[in-house]
Symmetry: C2
Subunit: 312 residues, 2 copies
Amino acid sequence: MADIGRDEIARVTVLGCGTLGASWAALFLAHGLDVAAYDPAPGLAGRAAPAIAEARAQLAELGLAGQGALRFHDRLEEALAGTDFVQENAPENEAVKRALLAEVDARLPPDILVASSTSAMLRSAIVADCAHSERILVAHPFHPPHLVPLVEIVAGSAEVAARASAFYARLGRRPVILNREMPGHIANRLASALYREAVNLVAEGVASVADIDAALCNGPGLRWAAMGPHMTYHLGGGEGGIRHYLDHLGASQVRRWASLGTPELTDAVKDRIVAGVLAEAGSRSLADLAARRDAALMGILKARIEVAGVDD
Amino acid sequence: MADIGRDEIARVTVLGCGTLGASWAALFLAHGLDVAAYDPAPGLAGRAAPAIAEARAQLAELGLAGQGALRFHDRLEEALAGTDFVQENAPENEAVKRALLAEVDARLPPDILVASSTSAMLRSAIVADCAHSERILVAHPFHPPHLVPLVEIVAGSAEVAARASAFYARLGRRPVILNREMPGHIANRLASALYREAVNLVAEGVASVADIDAALCNGPGLRWAAMGPHMTYHLGGGEGGIRHYLDHLGASQVRRWASLGTPELTDAVKDRIVAGVLAEAGSRSLADLAARRDAALMGILKARIEVAGVDD
């Protein structure tokens, strides 16, 4: 793999320009990179341009006002011409991704990295038809990637993982590297584990949906915006840190694990969750709620910039 | 329970003045309430006063600079004289709490609410020796309570739950009400469910401890500082909201749940976590890390104040 070595990235191709692709494009542009955007659906520029502009305005508010050039392309080969990096955001359909990646792989020199944003698929499945599969990686963002820093990297080699990580780190992202592929990568597995218990508490009638949500975002969620669970217990272990915590309170964690629920997502449980969420939302539309979430996320990101280094 | 009706709370007794009691005391004082503090350990004022002063300075920075009067007492009966509300923070030892609550119960008129901060115990266990157990409740904060808004309420009646909730809400807290008692209440159960998978990912060697921590606090943790998991999926369901999410993606959640790990906290796993946390901490002491966490928490709380109403 001596030919995988290009690190000067000035132009990025964004394949698939729905919500996710538009967010990626804005991030690249705000860091001064040129973006070639492609989407097979007609009317690409009309759909994507407003979303990209809105995301760029948010990034400018965070101090990122780079002026990369944006161009929309109707043909894949044009979008790939002269590119230095590819971010693929096709629909989460294995056959679609597999065919697209194979076509991209066949058209590009083997030293160009090609990153898939897939959340649901394993790298091994989607690279199956690629001749140069070693340069294809998963780089899964947490939505929306222009604001949320996480990028989960699954690569075929440590070298490719390191090169991709360096690229995303230069964009202010926080790459994390998986040593091996796992369904759901890391973050969605953690989220899913938490959600299982959240559903269990609804199913068992312990509290309202609104109160269960409030318990998270007014409690542990506030801490987890600043540090992860292992470090949290390091600070919860007193003078002895994580060693003391595990030795003295590990047993109570294990007992707690045994008491967690394994709910079934029956129609009755679904109905209860839906009724509870609608009660929690009240008169606020999805658009209202999304605007509040984004405002909160922007505020939290600004706070994190001020106290930079929290998760270093 | 017609005699449980007092709502004018001007003076609060704080029983047990370690880290938790000091944080509660600061919160009450910053809202203009008088505090009578009691702790059986000698040297109370010398230990607790600096912690209370530090927490009051943080609250002043958040705009809460009430000037309640603080008094330390060597005798329980003095700390209880004329009180309107009791917040108990004795050690997490069932016999200790049970005896203390029984003594408090015997000394106070039955219309005074007595709240235990217990995280580990069930209300039914600790009120067993109280003649007026209906006014004894669990009000479990998330540490530190002067900053983190969550208070989990477990009461013997809806009336007591509502009265206590109204009190904490006036202090800017976010009370959540459990319909029935559960080990770990809500927030620690959610945290424990997430931690089980975080430990599993370490045990399975999927990523480093630092990267697993980073995946949370740069991804879902950022969202969860603004909204809970049910509402998050409401916004992740597109136009159809939570109903669409559950009907179309509920099955993939259930499959994910089935793939989650059930790790054993063996000595080898503990060693791996400890080594990983120490690598993550690097040269930063526990005090450094705690200062960063608190600075981040303050920043996030200020951001939430600016975008108030996120979790309403």
